[in-house]
């Protein structure tokens, strides 16, 4: 294979590894802007991956499976939102428990049941796909990838241009002030979580019915934490968060591709790179105070 072919292979595999991260990162970005440091995004993705394959196997349609996966993500978000922004259980506690619960539940169910594999159809644009290097990456993908291209601007518009998004950001920055001006803080946070669940669910479902075509135990393998790292790396801006997703996806693609190309590189460093980069980004940009000021702080009326 020529060097250009190798690069094209890595780029296109990097793009495929980026897509589930980018879906979930759009959601996690919204949740964090509203002040929830949502670690159950892992549970949302994993549950959605399982749900999508189970439903696709039952109905025979990968597209219905994808939708079902998104609904599973919303269901996890609903539970999380009510437990941490209605009942006021510590959000990390809820997240950890949900992650453990979904991991245990899906691992248990996949060993006691069998599903047939399903995959959503692939879009392959004639002519354009023959562009060297970037052609396969951009024009031979499964259709949810093009849905992602709609989700990104929609998320940006929701957060930055809609009234709902303005209130959402107020809730994440200064919940007391938002409360005084008549915004229902915890309701906004629950809504942000639902949006996060929908997108993380799409990301997880894409992993199962889009990328792999089946479900295996602990299929997301910490991708949810990678998504959190991407939002932190992106300093709570949507564009930079997505750049983070691309960088992390490419690092993963390189880790998988380099041994086959005969290049030896420290695989541990490549796996750790996303977390290291997120940590470094926080250390370097910390003084800029870019994180939502009320991030991970619960809100209850009458307490300061």
């Amino acid at each position: 294979m020529s060097a250009a072919d190798n690069i094209a292979t890595i780029l296109s595999s990097g793009a495929r590894l980026t897509v589930p991260l980018a879906f979930a990162a759009c959601g996690e970005y919204v949740a964090q802007r509203a002040g929830t440091l949502n670690i159950s995004v892992e549970a949302m993705m994993l549950g959605a991956a399982f749900g999508s394959i189970a439903v696709a196997s039952a109905t025979g349609s990968a597209t219905i499976g994808l939708a079902a996966g998104a609904l599973v993500g919303v269901a996890v978000a609903f539970v999380h939102g009510n437990l941490s922004h209605r009942v006021q259980i510590n959000t990390f506690v809820v997240g950890l428990v949900l992650n453990a619960l979904v991991l245990g539940l899906t691992s248990y169910l996949i060993t006691v049941s069998t599903f047939t594999g399903h995959q959503v159809w692939q879009v392959s644009v004639p002519v354009l796909r023959d562009i060297p290097i970037v052609g396969p990456m951009l024009f031979v993908q499964r259709w949810p990838v093009y849905l992602l291209l709609a989700v990104i601007p929609l998320t940006w518009w929701l957060v930055q241009r809609s009234r709902w998004g303005l209130e959402l950001r107020a809730v994440g920055e200064n919940p007391q002030a938002a409360d005084v001006s008549g915004i229902h803080v915890n309701r906004r946070r629950r809504q942000a979580l639902l949006w996060c669940g929908l997108l993380a669910g799409l990301g997880g479902a894409y992993l199962a019915v889009g990328e792999v075509g089946s479900f295996n135990q602990n299929m997301t393998a910490g991708r949810g934490y990678l998504v959190i790292a991407a939002v932190i790396f992106g300093a709570w801006r949507l564009g930079r968060t997505l750049v983070g997703c691309v960088v992390f996806g490419l690092a993963d693609a390189m880790r998988l591709a380099l041994p086959a190309l005969g290049v030896t590189m420290n695989s541990q460093l490549l796996i750790a790179a996303p977390y290291l980069l997120a940590l470094l980004a926080m250390l370097v940009f910390a003084t800029a105070h870019r994180e939502p000021r009320a991030l991970a702080q619960p809100f209850q009326r009458g307490t300061t």
């Binding site: 009942v87 950890l96 428990v97 940590l279 926080m282």
Partner: protein, 406 residues
Amino acid sequence: MAAATTVAAPPTGPSGPDATGRRLLRRLNPGVGGWQVAAATAATVAVALALSALLISVTGGSPTASAKAMYQGSMASPAAWTTSLLYVAPLLLVAVGACVSARSGFFNIGQEGQVLIGALFGAWAGLRLALPGPLLVVSVLAAAAVGAGAWAGLSALMYRFRGVNVVVSTMLMTFLAQQLVSFAVNTPWLLQESRLGRGTLSPQSNPLPEGARISSLGEYPNLQINGGLVLAIVVAVVFSLALARTRWGFRLTMTGLSPAAARHAGVRVGALGGMALAISGGLAGLAGALLLASPVGTNRLQPGMSLNIGWDGLLVALVARNNPLLAIPVAVLFGVLRAGGSFLAATGVPPFLVDVVKALLVLAFVAPPVVIGMLRKRRRAGEPATTTPATDPAVSKQDAMEGSLA
């Protein structure tokens, strides 16, 4: 912030500010004990167990057979208890550390990584130091505690100097720790096993020498109590006393409940929280040393050797509501579930079932006090409570009692 001004009075003597502070603590954290919480917890635990049983039946298993298998694997014989107790010790150590950090408000969720770092440092000491007899075991434990404590301390430094959120940094560093250990056992000049003959090298260290392992304290026909369990219980009692009876513990709790009030009272919040983080990391590291040096595993450093003890220990602390003494029975429960789970696998039921039961139980224990506390607070604030009948004589009586205390 009326409460803060009470504390801001200049400290006059050991009794003055402390007495004020104790009243303050009570107001900030009104006790939500009592029979209501107990009754509600019993109900939610029953629901959790019923849900688990339902899950087993739906998937074609027998709940009673599974329960029996779990009992046999964890409690039915002295040998089964030996297995359970081997898990209890590291779980308890992690949980005590989690109690300390959670009470200080510097919430550490990176125990899983700190356990691994502890095992890494412990393995280095056990394999590289040539020390006689008991000194070697002590150095393994000390290296693990110091190494993991320093690892967690990095998060405290990042918070102190760059304002990096502690939860975020401890979480991210878990994944760094995993790769660090993986690197160490994949690198011949670090800790990878030495070559014997022509076999391929596995990603693991050499087994710890006999002298570096933690042995059992006596055998009571088949029941073996590992030295690690004794260590863990001593640690739990010591920290329970320190939190409840010393000035340090009082300041720690005050910092956790209201950092602003603590700062007004002259507490160096950053230093105190940093120390709490280092302690909780150090105790997680000790747990890692136990996983390495007690007969729970293979006595080798391996990337997967933490066995999720870090995450589970955190859950133990949550269920025990950050009380180190209460963590002892909860850790026993979690140890029993673990031992039962591995026995369950032998009877054909996937061991993952135990994770489901565990997560449901955690929710069942954690939710009732929070819900009841919230309902009481809402009632006190004069808002209509929506979910419980307003004419519950027991509730109003309890409320009146608390009102008089505050």
